[in-house]
């Protein structure tokens, strides 16, 4: 397949002539670096994607489009030949060339001090080689149909000359990119301000400045929005939408998101090795009540580890019904009853999920499971990620499907050849690999449909729900949310 040249149609507005726009990122911690290739958090990316470009990008309908690339060709399943734009300059004026692309990938893979968290997303790349100044060749280890999406959503191209000169730390403080905005100032713990980059190669950015605020308090975020201090509030909780609906200057905008939640557990040993127990957990939880009531209807129960906006979602696989009796029956079958109840330790490592965790715990107790809830911010790093999850432990997990592709979630959670640490089977692994290597869209979807049915029955995790992206948006601002949660500000206009 070939992609067309990304050509920004002129929008007829003078560069930087618009009102400044302010977006709050509801961030419990603060960004400590603006290096776009360090973390994989959505938060980081929100700033990075306005200052940097990837080789590709997803447009508003989640279709792949070239960005710094002009076109690509795929001589075989493992090789991608990508041609690059020639008219791009970094914010410091230096030209963008294939050397920058190669250096970007080299840095992610090899720089131990940087210890980039994006490393796993490029681990399937065997080599990146320049072909002249404006073309590069990627060779993969295994076929991967979502590869280009990862170039579109995670990896941003950084200037080799700048990083060589100032080093990672300094670059993290004063990043230099190719994007529509460049760094103006960064007030630690308060905000990052970007100004319009009128040398931008695409559509000229409209706002003179954009500001990313870091208000961590949901209530404060709402009051700042109402007072006009910020224009876009992200990650609004459902309980707070009520407060917003009453105000005329602010609108609530929501969209089916890419974030999906489930309970992860160790199915390789202990009680969860028995599929009946795992199914019982699935039947025990009233995910509809959680979605409707606790989450105010801004969530959709699912029976998969991705939401319906993600490629690979199977409509035919509906969520588990709430059936406590069946859950009890399954538990009894598996040998657990009131005299010998199933005991589980239920972990959560994100404070904002405490209500959900407690609600789920309550449902599980109702079918006779003895639940101990634990909050441990380090559980993910210490235990889950290092493969030390014990018997009978359950953790609430979620995934922002950055690639908008089923393979992303499967690779992180259920693919035994990649990270599926707590579940894997030869059959599902093979099915995942097959779907991954399938280059035809429809064939790929069919492969996922089959896989999703299998996974539903195997219940390797307890499926929960996918959430909507909820935003509070000033009515003066012309902006629409995207399913992948990305916020691009170059085209945003704001009335006085």
């Amino acid at each position: 397949a070939t992609g067309g040249r990304a050509q920004g149609a002129s929008n007829g507005v003078a560069c930087g002539s618009g009102q400044p726009v302010s977006v709050n990122l509801l961030w419990p911690t603060q960004p400590n670096t603006l290096d776009p290739n360090y973390d994989t958090l959505v938060m980081f990316a929100q700033i990075s994607r306005n200052m940097f470009n990837g080789l590709f990008k997803l447009d508003d309908s989640m279709t792949l489009q070239p960005d710094l690339a002009v076109s690509y060709s795929q001589p075989d399943a493992l090789t991608y030949e990508i041609e690059l734009r020639k008219d791009v300059v970094f914010h410091d004026g230096s030209p963008f060339t294939s050397a920058d692309v190669v250096a970007t990938f080299d840095r992610i893979v090899k720089d131990q001090k940087l210890a980039s968290k994006q490393r796993s997303y490029v681990s399937n790349i065997k080599s990146v080689t320049p072909k002249g100044d404006h073309a590069v060749n990627f060779v993969l280890k295994q076929p991967d149909s979502s590869f280009l999406k990862s170039l579109a959503t995670i990896i941003y191209i950084t200037p080799r000359s700048v990083i060589d000169k100032v080093g990672n730390v300094e670059f993290g403080k004063k990043p230099v990119g190719t994007g529509p905005f460049k760094l103006d100032s960064w007030t630690m713990g308060d905000s990052v301000v970007l100004t319009a980059n009128c040398d931008y190669h695409g559509d000229k950015p409209i706002p003179s400045k954009v500001e990313f605020r870091f208000i961590a308090e949901p209530a404060t975020q709402i009051s700042s929005l109402q007072s006009g201090e910020i224009d876009i509030a992200t990650q609004v909780t459902s309980d707070l939408t009520a407060a917003l609906k009453s105000s005329r200057d602010v609108a609530v905008q929501s969209i089916d998101g890419n974030q999906t939640f489930w309970l992860s557990m160790n199915t390789k040993e202990g009680p969860f090795a028995d599929p009946r127990v795992r199914q019982a957990l699935n039947y025990a939880i009233d995910r509809t009540a959680i979605a409707r009531q606790l989450l105010g209807g801004f969530a959709t129960p699912v029976g998969q580890v991705y939401s319906k906006s993600v490629f690979g979602y199977t409509k035919a696989v509906s969520p588990y019904p709430f059936d406590p009796d069946k859950a009890k029956a399954l538990l009894r079958e598996a040998g657990y009853d009131s005299s010998r109840p199933l005991k589980i330790e239920f972990y959560n490592f994100r404070a904002e999920l405490n209500p959900v965790q407690q609600s789920i715990a309550s449902f599980l107790s109702d079918v006779g499971i003895k639940v101990t809830t634990r909050f441990d911010p380090n559980y993910f790093v210490d235990t889950w990620q290092s493969g030390k999850m014990g018997r009978g432990q359950v953790i609430i997990r979620s995934n922002n499907n950055l690639l908008m592709d089923a393979d992303f979630a499967l690779g992180l959670e259920l693919d035994g050849t990649r990270r599926g640490m707590y579940f894997s089977s030869p059959e599902t692994d093979a099915a995942i690999a097959k779907a991954r290597g399938e280059s035809d869209r429809n064939a790929r979807q069919a492969a996922y449909d089959a896989l999703n049915k299998t996974l539903y029955n195997l219940a390797p995790v307890t499926f929960l729900y996918s959430t909507d992206g909820i935003y509070g948006v000033s009515t003066r601002v012309d902006w629409k949310p995207r399913p992948d949660g990305a916020i691009y500000l170059a085209n945003v206009t704001k009335r006085r």
């Binding site: 209530a219 309980d239 707070l240 959680i290 009531q293 405490n354 441990d376 911010p377």
Partner: protein
Amino acid sequence: MSHATSLPLRPQPQSPSKARPINLRLLIPAGLLGVIVVIACLAPWISPYGPNSQDLSARLLPPLWQAGGSTKHLLGTDDLGRDILTRIMYGARVSLSIGAIAVICRMVSGVLIGLVAGYFGGPLLTFFMRLGDVQLALPTLVLAIGVIAALGPSTSNVILVLAITGWVLYARLVVSQVIVVRRQDYIASAQLLGASHCRIIFKHLLPNIIPSVIVFASLDLGLMMLTEGSLSFLGLGVQPPEPSWGGMAAGGRALISTAWWIATLPGAALVVTVALVNVLGEQLRDRLDPRLDATRSA
């Protein structure tokens, strides 16, 4: 002749056993505190709800007196539909027991160290006092952040932090008193009778400093409850869903503009309880140890 010491104009401090009869000022706070303790103990029998039993259909109900309030939930419900009053009653258990355990740990370790170091003096005293200086250079919450960052948040780690940051204060109090009492002739007199160190420490020193320790501890109890509340509020202390007042306040903070009662009512319970403890401590101070004016810092 000379040296007949004249009486100071200020009235002499009252001797403990000559204390004024128990009066209402002591009885009322003590009684109210007793009621709180009883409620905490009997919570399962008083409340029809469990502390963690959710009812998603009764979420965010306001307290009785507000529009939409219901007699089923006198103080309203939280975001999971749990009864706030019930959780406050259970929260009293956490707050009081952690406060009491922490104070006892601090007191016992501090008093023992203070007695021994103060009595023997010399390098032992220097060692502990220097250790105390280092300790005091790290405010409780700072050390709490350090230790909890390292060990993870949990109830037992909270008590650990409170105990290790507290012994110094007790030890200093005891040492300052021991140094005074030690110079008293009755200690020399006991030495002359051949009393052992152990007897002198526990029979002669301890009874004479214990009133100020008790007063200090009673004032400290309030402070410990506040500190526990703060740590739980920061998410470093008691972990949800266990109902602690600080944790409940933290949980309801995001909803302050829509459901003010979730965050404020548990905090109010803490205010009332700590105020009672403090009033009681003040009364004890007036009674037992009018000169002690311990400075308290958070």
